[in-house]
Subunit: 323 residues, 2 copies
């Protein structure tokens, strides 16, 4: 499976590193804000890794500067089977618009994103008809949460006739926040008093200042996370029964808490109980997001090959392991 | 979705109770060794619940005695969309043969089993071509383990580039073992010195005697469980990296240990870690097996409606919640 990645931040680079360790996938194209690189025989993940923060993949061997790198990738649509949208989604309509461009540009294949916000995902789901008509298969919300943990909730729900609550509480530790500049701003946008626009407008120094107020830790409650709409769509529960929050430590690679999905429900015989899915602390956000996204990209291709088109959430599908 | 259940033991009865709490499914046919009952407007789950151990569904209102109840259900093939095979699988070839009868009898729809043994599942997978040719969709190993926990392992694997180990350790507590006569014999068959034939040949008094030797508890290590072949088929790991064992208390409804799936792997950045999926102690074997099986039956119908036929393991698919 030949892959294009949009976005060369921490997630795009990690996805490239994972693909380099797989035989069933090959990375052939990467785009970022400054340009793109295309190589039909495979892009060197280590060279990509060495592109500095603030640099561009256009500086890589064979890279080209472009003010519309996404358009350039769309023009190469016959050169790959699947696309991982590892773009920061600020503003909300950005990724939905990119998807629309791919479809209208004639791409017929598999796509995944690692979207987080409910409103953005609703825009993606609105594209279902368009993608069906144009023979594309899009799996949305395929990161860690939404993604791995949302799917675990959909699985855990099977033991119950009624789901009362899904609670996702994540811990993320990153040694250097500036590897994840866009992600951190997305997280700041969830803090009281902030929104997507005000967070996006922050300078790096201002981000440092916000982080400094809490010893580098961001604790977020009741985040607007698309796990809610995805679990509702999958028939697991109502969206207001889903809560997402967590703690991000931007100064320490060790997770401040273990990422845990807890589903509470009532069994057919009237018992209230909880199933838990707990991620190992040594697994990074990059491993949990990108490994999952590539597994879902493989599944999207599987569905596409069988003529199943449209938009689905990760809570509706099992990722397909990539060897 | 109209459902037929084969087998009216603990699992068949629990499945009927669950279906009675759903609006998307209706139970229309049940078969057991003594006969069958068919009602196109729905079978009363409570009447089924009241069929005593040693009795038969043929004693229910509208029930009929038959020496080939499965054949009778196959003759009714246009009256239902999905079949849950809740039969004891002794000997190994029993369920595979039943599946073959359904297909050769002209049934075109969705089927699931809650099979446990590797050798039986391999026989099921051998039917893939036959089911594809005859437009049937069969999901196999859709109970708790294999099933819920195997799918959790396939999901957990996404964070890792290499899976080293999948360890499933279950706890089951049942207040009265004679509600699960066949299941207990299947478990005894896993003990050192026993096999499927010798376990099946035990009288109830002899089963009591075996259980009495360990205060009613059966502790099983390295069980032949199809989780191994299912995870291998799903590309998660080699079969010898999967171990299954657990403790069954036949005299206490409380679980002696919490059922846990632990997957150990190496991330793309070289970290060894473990993800865990832990079932709530209050969830019974019946809830975890039958809820999951019905979710997979719904998924099997979803696949069938989209023209995806053949045999798949539960580690390859996400169950679809039944409302």
């Amino acid at each position: 499976m030949k892959i294009a990645i949009l976005g060369a931040g921490g997630l795009g680079k990690a996805a490239a590193q994972i693909i380099a360790q797989k035989t069933q996938m090959q990375l052939v194209a990467v785009a970022d804000a400054g340009g793109f690189v295309f190589n039909p025989t495979g892009i060197d993940a280590n060279e990509l890794q060495n592109v500095k923060v603030g640099g561009s993949v256009s500086q890589m061997q064979g890279g080209q500067r472009s003010s519309d790198a996404i358009g350039e990738i769309i023009n190469l649509k016959d050169e790959y089977d699947g696309v991982f949208l590892a773009l920061p989604n600020l503003p909300n309509e950005f990724i939905p618009c990119v998807v629309q461009r791919f479809v209208e540009g004639g791409f017929q294949g598999a796509l995944v994103d690692a979207l987080k916000r409910t409103r953005a995902m609703e825009m993606i789901f609105d594209l279902d008809g368009l993608l069906q008509d144009n023979k594309c298969t899009f799996l949305s919300g395929c990161g860690a949460t939404p993604g791995l943990l949302t799917a675990a909730a959909a699985l855990a729900a099977q033991s119950f006739v009624k789901v009362e609550k899904v609670h996702i509480w994540w811990g993320v530790g990153i040694a250097r926040w500036d590897d994840y500049k866009a992600t951190i701003r997305e997280d700041i946008a969830h803090l009281p008093g902030w929104d997507v626009d005000s967070a996006k407008a922050l300078s790096d120094a201002e981000v440092e200042e916000v982080l400094g107020q809490s010893d580098g830790k961001l604790t977020l409650y009741n985040m607007e996370h698309a796990d809610d709409v995805m679990l509702e769509r999958a028939g697991v529960c109502e969206r207001d029964q889903v809560t997402v929050g967590g703690v991000m430590d931007t100064r320490n690679a060790k997770k401040p808490v273990s990422t845990t999905m807890t589903l509470t429900g009532i069994t057919f015989d009237g018992q209230r109980s909880e199933h838990k899915f707990i991620l190992g602390d040594e697994t990074t956000m990059a491993a949990n997001v990108c490994g999952t996204a590539l597994g879902y990209l493989h599944r999207a291709q599987w569905l596409h090959q069988r003529g199943v088109y449209g938009v689905f959430g990760s809570a509706e599908m099992m990722p397909l392991t990539v060897k």
